[in-house]
Amino acid sequence: MLIKYIITIFALFVIYRAGVRLKNKDISKGEYFLWIFFWLLVIIATLIPKNLDQIAQFVGVERGADLAVYLSIIVIFYLIFKILVRLEKNDREITTVVRKIALNNKEENNEKSSRRND
């Protein structure tokens, strides 16, 4: 199966890129290991699909690939939810900053004009 090798090469590439990011301090050690762990699982699952089929049938799903897709979708939904929560928080924080700036600028303007009037 060609796809086995394509996925494995891609996974190895991602692991390599993660190493670069770690060196550049773009990600933390914890994030790096989590990421590596995930992609190693992908390589194992791809190269030894029989394992995946066994696990799948154990939980009641026909094929390993099906199980992989179901799990991925669940994870993706969860991550999207987390992102939305973060976005909402960001939005509120931006409003707080914009509000502070507006009120501060007004105070400065008021002080400037009262100094001019003295």
């Binding site: 909402e88 509120r92 931006i94 700036i101 507006a102």
Partner: protein, 224 residues
């Protein structure tokens, strides 16, 4: 009695001067310029309003809250919310704040449906959606009002201190009603005129925007 009139404004250079001029006899005018790209800022200042400027557009709800913070900092006793597009009548202000000045209620809500004057007709789709909004609000917020989306309101100092608008965009109107219930504030409705001109109809919300408002309300309740 320090009376503050807060007017959130976004690109209202055509109407803001006349609105500020009509309203300023009733109290101190605070225009919150929500990052307008036109001359709203300059015109409002010229007309004699205190102008607060958001450096990026945050929405009418956010602008109102900014204005309220300013009013409270400056010892406001009564805070009035007033639209910048000329839909509201300054003449209604006295009737609107009377119950607060008489210490009868904490919050007075303007209602176009209590108003007997029908010089300016409500577009039918808007009428329908607002009426559905009343039922929906009655169910979700537990508050019984005839006009759930009217930007003309008066708040006592106590109410202004308690109410926090966290919905930056158009869902703030529903949120304010929620806050009234949550904080056990007393309220009443007063008839006010709402003028629908071709200008305000163009500038105003698309009636179908209620879908976005619903989304914002649900998001607000789920994601916070």
């Amino acid at each position: 009695m320090n009376i503050f009139i807060i007017i959130p404004a976004y690109n209202e250079e055509k109407m803001i001067e006349s609105v500020v001029n009509e309203v300023k006899k009733f109290g101190r005018v605070v225009v919150v310029n929500d990052d307008s790209s036109d001359s709203t800022n300059e015109i409002a200042q010229e007309a004699g309003a205190a102008v607060l400027s958001h450096i990026v557009n945050r929405g009418q709800g956010a602008a109102l809250q900014t204005g309220m913070n300013y009013a409270l900092e400056n010892n406001a006793d009564v805070v009035i919310h007033f639209d910048a597009d000329g839909q509201h009548c300054a003449q209604d202000i006295e009737r609107l704040i009377e119950p607060i000045l008489l210490d009868e209620v904490d919050v007075v809500l303007g209602s176009r449906f209590l108003c007997k004057i029908t010089n300016y007709k409500i577009p039918f789709l808007r009428y329908l959606i607002l009426k559905v909004g009343v039922v929906f609000t009655r169910f979700i917020s537990g508050i019984n009002v005839t006009d759930t989306h009217n930007g003309f309101r008066a708040l006592s100092r106590k109410a202004a201190e308690k109410i926090q608008i966290s919905q930056d965009r158009m869902a703030h109107a529903s949120e304010i009603l929620d806050e009234v219930v949550k904080n056990n504030l007393t309220y009443k409705e007063v008839a006010v005129q709402v003028k629908y001109t071709s200008y305000s109809k163009k500038k105003g919300q698309n009636s179908l925007n209620f879908i976005n408002i619903l989304k914002e309300l649900i998001t607000g309740k789920v994601l916070r």
